[in-house]
């Protein structure tokens, strides 16, 4: 009796296992189908998704995935159209580009975990470098493209409410008591790290390099922070839509965008000193080899440096890296702002992360009681 029950159990277990095993399999098939549909719907050129894997036959269409960070949504929406036209003219090939946006660190992590991006366009070099450490991007990627792989740059500015009621002019105004500051969490947000470092650089200049005083300054700053969202976009929404805080520390482009969305409600204040924020782009070598998309992915990033693309970046409030085109936008950007940079003033991202943002480092210390 006992024996027969046992064997029945085993049989049933086996049956159920097959059922489950079949499930991912069949929904895996579903996934292929879905992407096939996407390709035909978007590129208006019905080709099976698998076509991308046969570079030899020069397929009619190819698809790549761009994993990016939050504030670039509007930029890449436009840039993708520009690139699609360019590539069609150049190679006679349709490109389908799938976008993914989120906090920069989160996006880097998803690529490391197996989100098969062909290119990454993230908020900072450190995040792209994590992907290199995971073995997906080759060594020396920073030098593969011009300008340290940063086709456009930005900086950190203040966004304040109309009329600047708290009279905020510079970094030392936002550490005063009674000012509510909105900035994201440097532990999870790339933009937040630029914010932190810019503030530190200001304090360092004021206090002649006294680390203890810098820590005091940062402590005062972060005790004014009322909401520490996990991403830059979250902070902007908190400040703009939900009306929190007196000042938002924001990417310059994000600040411009908020102004465009809500004309007349906000003002941009440029502090006396800020940081040159260089969002980094890279081809994810392991993935493009797997997909056979090396050529188009590389071209996708290189085209970011073309005059048309540089102008588009300027129109989307990123500072073009080409100095001539940057000058065309002299009315938009405050070109006189003093900018420190990560390599010269902080010894690169590795050192900065270690010193400021690692567990137990300065950012954690300023919150310790």
């Amino acid at each position: 009796m006992k024996k027969s029950i046992l064997s029945k159990t085993t049989a049933a277990a086996l049956g159920a296992f097959l059922l489950i095993a079949a499930l991912p399999g069949c929904s895996g098939g579903g996934a292929v189908n879905t992407s096939g549909n996407t390709a035909s719907a978007d590129a208006s050129n019905p080709t099976p998704a698998g076509a991308a894997k046969e570079p030899a036959a020069a397929p009619k269409s190819v698809s790549i995935t761009n994993v990016s960070y939050d504030p670039t949504r509007e930029l890449y929406e436009r840039y993708n159209k520009l690139f699609q036209e360019y590539w069609l003219k150049e190679k006679g090939q349709e490109v389908e580009i799938t976008q993914s946006h989120g906090g920069s660190g989160k996006q880097a992590r998803s690529v490391i975990e197996g989100n098969e991006a062909d290119v990454v366009t993230l908020a900072l070099e450190g995040d792209v470098d994590e992907i290199r450490k995971a073995g997906l991007i080759d060594e020396g990627w920073v030098k593969r493209l011009d300008k340290e792989s940063a086709p456009y740059t930005s900086t950190i500015v203040f966004l304040v409410r109309k009329g600047n009621p708290k009279n905020i002019k510079d970094w030392d105004d936002i550490v005063k008591s009674g000012i509510e500051v909105i900035t994201p969490d440097p532990k999870s947000s790339g933009g937040a790290r630029w914010n932190f470092l810019a503030a530190w650089a200001f304090s360092n200049q004021q206090n002649g390099g006294d680390e203890e005083k810098n820590k005091e300054f940062m402590k005062a700053l972060y005790s004014n922070v009322t909401v520490l969202d996990s991403g830059a976009r979250g902070s902007t929404t908190t400040f703009v839509e939900n009306g929190q805080g007196d000042v938002l520390l924001a990417w310059e482009n994000e600040a411009f965008l908020s102004q465009k969305e809500h004309p007349g409600d906000f003002e941009i204040v440029t502090p006396s000193l800020s940081i040159l924020a260089q969002p980094s782009v890279a081809v994810v070598d392991a993935n493009v080899k797997k997909h056979g998309t090396e050529e188009v992915a590389t071209a996708y990033l290189q085209y970011l440096y073309s005059d048309e693309a540089q102008r588009l970046e300027g129109q989307n409030d990123y500072r073009p890296s080409n100095p001539d085109i940057l000058k065309e936008f002299g009315d938009t950007f405050d070109l006189n702002i003093k900018l420190v940079n990560i390599d010269d003033d902080f010894g690169g991202w590795e050192a900065a992360t270690e010193k400021f943002f690692a567990d137990g480092a300065i950012f954690d210390q300023i919150y310790k009681r």
Partner: protein, 283 residues
């Protein structure tokens, strides 16, 4: 009998067929979908010493998140028990227009996507929102404070309490209460001495379920929590934070603490519930 000590082996003689099959399917699916995935968490920690594990899970900032998560969830569950008993009572004992609609609305937090609930609550309770602006006038901030977290937790926890208590209340014969009243007990006395003791196990189950769910909740809480370390950072957010620093072992360590915690809470609930069942069948 001593040979039959192994778990999941049937006991007693029972003529109903299908034990092997149903147990087989149950255990297999449970293992594949829940147990093996959860065990994989341990695999990530294989290179982690206990000292490292402890340093992460007992870190000051992590401890603060437990405190915030647990206290908000605790307060929310208490509020839910009070209003849960009230709602269950009103729905089962009174007849009034709209009773069935009220009854139907209880499950709204189940059905409403957590992210939608989170965004809606944040908008509603921020100092620009309909409710938040009223509280702002008396100087109380709700969104981005622990009050906001608690409110989101009340929102997601309420159905658990009402639905735990309702069946017990339905089974509890009103005659019982009437008898007490006839014997001269006051209304309050009847409620506290006759009804409440009967409801207690169910209320506790509801409390524990709402509590366990609130502690782990992410979608609806993340929008309304300010994420300030030591002040409004909840445990799921610090797990997210560790992940974003590519620190998988640290994230999994804290996750493990939460898993063990929810297992213990649930185990307690199930013990309670089998007790309730015995009472329900006994009386």
């Amino acid at each position: 009998m001593s040979g039959l000590k192994a778990p999941f082996r049937r006991r007693g003689n029972n003529v109903i067929p299908g034990f092997g099959l149903s147990m087989g399917v149950t255990l297999t699916m449970l293992s594949l979908i829940v147990l093996i995935p959860l065990a994989s968490v341990l695999l990530v920690l294989r290179d982690y010493s206990f000292a490292e594990f402890w340093r992460v899970v007992a870190d000051k900032q992590t401890l603060a998140t437990y405190r915030i998560s647990l206290s908000c969830a605790g307060i929310a569950a208490c509020v839910n028990v009070v209003f849960g008993v009230l709602l269950a009572w009103v729905i089962t004992r009174y007849k009034f227009p709209g009773r069935r609609i009220l009854d139907g609305l209880i499950e709204l937090p189940f059905a409403l996507p957590t992210a939608v609930a989170g965004i809606a609550l944040t908008t509603l309770y921020s100092d620009k929102g309909w409710i938040g602006s009223l509280f702002d006038k008396i100087g109380v901030k709700i969104s981005y404070t622990t009050k906001g977290i608690t409110i989101a937790m009340i929102f997601i926890g309420i159905p658990f309490v009402v639905r735990s208590i309702q069946p017990v209340l339905e089974k509890l014969d009103p005659q019982y209460e009437e008898a007490a009243a006839v014997l001269g007990a006051g209304r309050a006395e009847t409620f506290f001495r006759v009804v409440l003791p009967e409801l207690l196990p169910a209320a506790l189950t509801g409390f524990a379920l709402a509590f366990a769910r609130s502690v782990g909740e992410y979608g609806s809480v993340v929008f309304i929590a300010g994420n300030i370390p030591y002040k409004t950072q909840i445990t799921p957010l610090i797990i997210m934070n560790k992940l974003e620093q590519f620190n998988y072992p640290a994230a999994t360590s804290i996750a493990l603490v939460m898993i063990v915690f929810s297992f213990l809470v649930l185990f307690g609930i199930n013990l309670l519930q089998s007790k309730i069942n015995k009472i329900a069948r006994g009386s």
